[in-house]
């Protein structure tokens, strides 16, 4: 954890660590520097949860499909490799947990949407009109994970004010 981190970035790091340590036994560490830019890579999974209410924005979790599959398998502890639907649900729930925890730090009242999950190669997901509030990068094994908090301009307060 860097001394220059914002309050919200520290929370994202704590929540991410808690999710990884509780739900799967995979390495997980914060990385600094520019990290992956734009697309995390080919074959990427992005899970997105909107936050609606006094504060409006979204939480995005992006990771390579290979890591998403490994992570899902570790969470479910099934005997067979998880199928696409299981990966979709698991990574959606991961963003849901992340958003649910971040929501509590934002001006109230606010609620979170159901997660939307995108699979694909070489795509760029853009939420029109939003600005990034925080972008935190991690590494699980050799693969990157990016968690972003985006805010719609003009909504009340900000995460720092609410924290």
């Amino acid at each position: 954890m860097s001394s220059t981190d914002s309050h919200i970035e520290r929370h994202i790091e704590e929540i991410g660590g808690a999710i990884w340590s509780t739900l799967c036994d995979l390495p997980f560490e914060r990385t600094y520097g520019p990290g992956p830019t734009g697309d995390v890579g080919a074959s990427t999974v992005t899970s997105l949860v909107h936050i609606e209410g006094t504060w409006q924005g979204a939480v995005l979790v992006q990771l390579p499909l290979s890591l998403a599959t490994t992570l899902t398998g570790a969470m479910l502890q099934g005997e067979e490799a998880p199928d696409a639907e299981e990966v979709r649900d698991a990574i959606g729930e991961l963003a849901n947990m992340m958003a649910g925890n971040l929501k509590a730090l934002l001006p109230q009242p606010s609620r979170i949407s159901l997660p939307a999950v995108v699979f694909g190669r070489d795509y760029h997901l853009s939420l029109v009109g939003t600005t990034p509030v925080a972008r935190v990068t991690f590494r699980s094994g050799d693969e990157p994970v990016v968690v972003s908090l985006l805010q719609h301009p003009g909504t009340a307060g900000g995460p720092e004010a609410a924290a």
Binding site: T22, D89, G100, P109
Partner: protein, 311 residues
């Protein structure tokens, strides 16, 4: 849950992943698990599966956890089901809302399996203690309204039954009241001893109960031991001649067969019956009329039925 059977936990969460993770931890700890994907399904499962405990996610589509909890608390059948809700690790808004609505405890997501099973075990233990206390309270209430000698209800039982009847039928519903008094009971105690006196009371109680249990045209009838050698019957919807007929049936039922005291020794038991007719809401007037009628029956030579209007 009954002794020796595993408790059933209902997991209500829209994420299949979370449900599977929770199921694995709970099944590993010996619980049976049923699942629902939202609040509406959860309420239906509460009714159909009768779980012992509910794990309820807050953020769900269709009906969220707080609305589900509110619906459960408004439902007499589901109100006492213990609920642990699943909420975010940060912040206290949802926690406070859930606890105010009546949830027993909460778990932060993602939840550690050991913490999950420990909290579930604690919640089930608390529920079992609560149920035991409720059962003890009910048993004490029964005990305090039961006559230990005859096993019949006592005066307190009749008061409770009267209140229930008033609520059900209204205070103006017609009712009759009989006071049945064992004739010359003091003489039995004085000459034959109290053990035989107690036996006489038990026999009279049994004969009255059997006679009241016989099929008849009348409705609710409650028999209690009022005190000493007096018994009271409250008969809903029964007044006038029909009430007297019931009194006559009871008198004959008690006196028809002498009580065998010893080899070759038998004791005749008779009762006098006072009848009061009126309304169930006018219990004092009913008692007063029946008491006056009983006095007249005694004065008239005993072993008879006399009626008075209690309106």
């Amino acid at each position: 849950m009954t002794a020796g059977t595993a408790a059933t936990v209902l997991v209500v969460d829209d994420s299949r992943t979370t449900r599977r993770i929770l199921r694995r931890a709970l099944v590993g700890a010996g619980y049976l698990v049923v699942e629902a994907g939202d609040g509406v399904e959860g309420l239906a499962a509460c009714r159909s599966e009768r779980p012992d405990l509910v794990l309820l996610d807050i953020d769900m589509p269709v009906m969220d956890g707080l609305a589900t909890l509110e619906a459960m608390k408004a439902d007499d059948e589901l109100r006492s089901l213990p609920v642990l809700f699943l909420t975010a690790r940060t912040g206290g808004t949802d926690v406070a809302a859930g606890l105010v609505l009546g949830a027993q405890d909460y778990l932060r997501k993602p939840c550690d399996p050991a913490e999950l099973t420990a909290r579930v075990a604690t919640a089930l233990r608390l529920k079992a203690q609560e149920d035991a206390l409720r059962e003890q309270a009910r048993a004490l209430t029964d005990l305090s309204s039961t006559d230990p000698l005859t096993g019949l209800g006592n005066r307190r039982r009749l008061e409770h039954q009267t209140q229930r009847l008033i609520l059900r039928a209204g205070a103006q519903a017609a009712a009759g009241l009989l006071i049945v008094d064992v004739d010359h009971f003091k003489r039995v105690n004085d000459t034959e001893g109290h053990p035989l006196g107690d036996r006489v009371l038990r026999v009279v109680a049994d004969r009255l109960q059997v006679a009241l249990d016989e099929p008849g045209p009348d409705g609710d009838r409650s028999l209690v031991r009022w005190g000493g050698e007096e018994f009271v019957v409250l008969a809903m919807g029964l007044t006038g001649a029909a009430l007297v007929a019931l009194g006559e049936r009871l008198r004959l039922a008690v006196g028809r067969t002498p009580l065998t005291v010893d080899v070759g020794k038998r004791l005749d038991i008779t009762v006098s019956v006072g009848c009061g007719s009126g309304t169930v809401g006018g219990m004092e007037a009913l008692l007063s009329a029946a008491d006056q009628a009983l006095y007249e029956a005694k004065a008239g030579g005993r072993n008879r039925v006399v009626a008075r209007d209690g309106t």
